[in-house]
Amino acid sequence: MKKLLVVDDEDHIRKLYTDVFTREGYRVETAATGDEALEKAASTHFDLVILDIELEETSGLELLKRFKESFSNLPVILNSAYSTYKADFHTWVAAGYILKSSDITPLREKIKELVMI
């Protein structure tokens, strides 16, 4: 079973993604902060990270950089309400950039593509 780490400071987003992707056969863990995410990634092997950019305590882009430094093979999908970050070259190291939407299909397909279920 593929393991996903959802990093988002919004409780309901974490709950939504957990419920949706658990039902789709993934094992989902969540983190509300950058530190929590890094701790979990250090202690558990994940196949993919879904990472929000606008986190309360730390920037998602900074967190992306640290994930790449520590877990270079771990694919990270940036998942944001903001489309403007697409133009920021810091986001280019991410495996994907999906805008948050009530239609989860694009995110779902990107995950499938990356974890090759």
Binding site: H12, L16, Y82, S83, T84, S101
Partner: protein, 596 residues
């Protein structure tokens, strides 16, 4: 007289008195009751033209009358009876025919309160003082004319008005009294004298009519100068047309050039030997005697005043020329001042225009900056909304897919549809706010429209015929946020294109109109295309709601914040046209423009 005095005085005293009378500056003569001259002092004999007093011995008052024409003999009996005769400033000539002005005073000559023995007269030659008095009066008149013209000139700074006042002063009878006056001014390059304005009658008949009317009106010079309508009347347009547009090269040998070079007035007569160029001037002005005075202000040559008495034929004297020159010197200052004033007004107008443009640019920049702030605010609100919409829609989708709420699937679908709609609105708003992040700058409107059409084509690829783009050759700089403006233009293009059927075509063109940069969207196609185009226009400008309407509202506000506008224009025999306009940037022309 001496016989009478002999009765009362010694001979020695008598000789003394006679010498005193002879040396007096006053002429004295005495006659008997019949008017026979019994005494005449040296001064009287000199005034009357006798070589010595003795030459008048035995002469009578008739002889004096014959010289000074004073009718003394006719008044003799009345004077003997006690009346005095006074002739102040009596104009006459002496025996040698020299003109003289005399004060004549004659009274009875009595021996102490006894009978009248004859008459005694005094002759005072006041010729020189009268001449000086006349000169003084003339000078006062000149000063008075100059003062009145000066006052009239100070009341206006308009050059045409100044020129008319000057020529009115030259031609008015109460002024310098010339029949006609012509004014030439040196052109801006200083190479030619140009005929400007002329005043005076063009024929004796017209002169008679004008002068008799002016005579009836009995206006003072001041009143004539102040009364614009009369100035109009005394000016003669046919006379002005005689010199209007006439250009006389200053390099040619004319009395005009000479007067300007020498800085002195000239009295030109037909009898003078004149070069052909000067004779041509005399011929063209139909004159045989012309007073010419250069107008020079502080060594700056401004022009020429020329005047003549063509109607009356009165000869122009050197004093007339001198007075005209004084007048010209005086008016030079007024002309120079008028020109300075015109320059000042011109510069003030330029400054005012620049200030207005600057204020408009500042206002526009402030509006655009405000737009950026609104964009930032909108962006943060929109992002805050996107998370809850994701959650609501996401869970609704989840519930629908798991069938966990059988019987409520209709409601879940409604939630999903409305969530989707709200997300579309957010998408438009975020497009706008993203554009707000771009800094404002100078933009080439043609490049902006071109880039927007390219963006449009990429969005509509394979769906429609691409629009035809026609750009003006004029440079159309506008100031603003290029992304915001591109977003706004794109909304109009998108809506114009999206609903069109295959039979319709769209032409997008740019042009300059009334200092504005315009983008027109024109439609073409057969009659079958009309309903669709009308539908499209209703969508854009009607009261319907929906995401397209919201896009147009945001686009319209963007344009308005940039000082622009949009609307529909009816084109005769064509489809209505959508126009979008933005004010052209009027700042420095050397700034770079970019479409962003």
């Amino acid at each position: 007289m001496m016989e009478i005095l002999q009765d009362v005085m010694t001979n020695e005293y008598l000789s003394f008195l006679k010498a005193q009378f002879d040396d007096m500056p006053l002429g004295i003569f005495v006659t008997d009751r019949q008017g026979i001259i019994s005494y005449m002092n040296r001064n009287a004999s000199s005034i009357l033209g006798y070589r010595v007093p003795e030459d008048a011995s035995g002469a009578s008052l008739r002889d004096i009358d014959a010289v000074i024409n004073a009718s003394l003999m006719n008044s003799l009996s009345q004077i003997v009876e006690g009346r005095n005769l006074v002739l102040p400033e009596h104009r006459c000539s002496n025996r040698q025919g020299h003109f003289a002005i005399l004060n004549v005073y004659v009274s009875p000559f009595r021996r102490q309160a006894e009978e009248t023995l004859g008459i005694i007269g005094t002759l005072q030659d006041v010729t020189e003082s009268a001449r000086r008095k006349a000169e003084l009066e003339e000078a006062i008149l000149e000063l008075s004319i100059l003062a009145e013209v000066s006052e009239a000139l100070s009341s206006t700074a308009d050059l045409d008005e100044v020129l008319r006042i000057i020529l009115t002063g030259v031609t008015a009878n109460q002024g310098l009294g010339f029949n006609r006056a012509f004014l030439f001014l040196i052109d801006a390059d200083g190479g030619y004298l140009e005929g400007k304005v002329a005043i005076g009658p063009s024929s004796p008949e017209e002169a008679g009519e004008i002068w008799s009317r002016l005579s009836r009106q009995q206006k003072s010079l001041k009143e004539m100068l102040e009364d614009y309508s009369d100035r109009e009347n005394v000016s003669n347009y046919s006379l002005s047309s005689l010199i209007s547009g006439w250009k006389i090269p200053l390099s040619s040998e004319t009395f005009f050039s000479r007067a300007l070079q020498e800085g002195m007035g000239i009295n030109v007569t037909g009898r003078d030997e004149l070069p052909e160029s000067s004779r041509e001037i005399m011929r063209r002005l139909h004159t045989v005697n012309l007073a010419v005075a250069p107008i020079i202000s502080k060594d700056k040559k401004l022009g020429i005043i020329a005047a003549d008495n063509q109607i009356t034929g009165k000869r122009i004297s050197s004093s007339d020329v001198k007075l005209l020159q004084t007048f010209a010197n005086h008016t030079a200052v007024a002309i120079e001042r008028s020109r300075l004033y015109d320059n000042l007004v011109e510069h003030a107008a330029e400054l005012e225009l620049i200030n207005r443009q600057l204020a408009e640019s500042q206002e526009q920049m402030i509006r655009v900056e405000k737009m950026s702030v609104i964009g930032e605010l909108t962006s943060s609100i929109a992002h805050e909304l996107r998370n809850p919409l994701t959650v609501i829609g996401g869970f609704a989708n989840l519930m629908l897919s798991t069938g966990g709420m059988d019987g409520n699937s209709e409601y879940l679908n409604i939630i999903l549809a409305e969530t989707k709609r709200a997300e579309t609105v957010l998408h438009h708003v975020l497009d706008f706010s993203r554009a707000s992040r771009t800094k404002t700058r100078l933009i080439d409107f043609n490049q902006l429209v071109t880039a927007t059409v390219q963006l449009l084509n990429s969005k509509l690829r394979h769906r429609h015929n691409p629009p035809t783009l026609r750009l003006t050759d004029a440079r159309l700089p506008v100031w603003g946020n290029p992304d915001q403006l591109q977003h706004a233009l794109l909304q109009f293009m998108l809506i114009s294109m999206e609903e069109l059927t295959d039979g319709c075509n769209v032409i997008i063109s740019t042009l300059e109109r009334e200092q504005k940069a315009l983008m027109n969207i024109d439609f073409s196609g057969g009659d079958q295309a009309k309903p669709q185009i009308i539908k499209t226009l209703k969508q854009i400008f009607g009261s319907s709601t929906g995401t397209q309407k919201l896009s147009i509202i945001v686009a319209g506000e963007t344009l308005r914040y940039h000082g622009g506008n949009y609307g529909i224009e009816n084109v005769p025999n064509e489809f209505p046209r959508i126009y979008v306009e933005l004010p052209q940037y009027k700042g420095g022309s050397d700034e770079e423009t970019s479409c962003g």
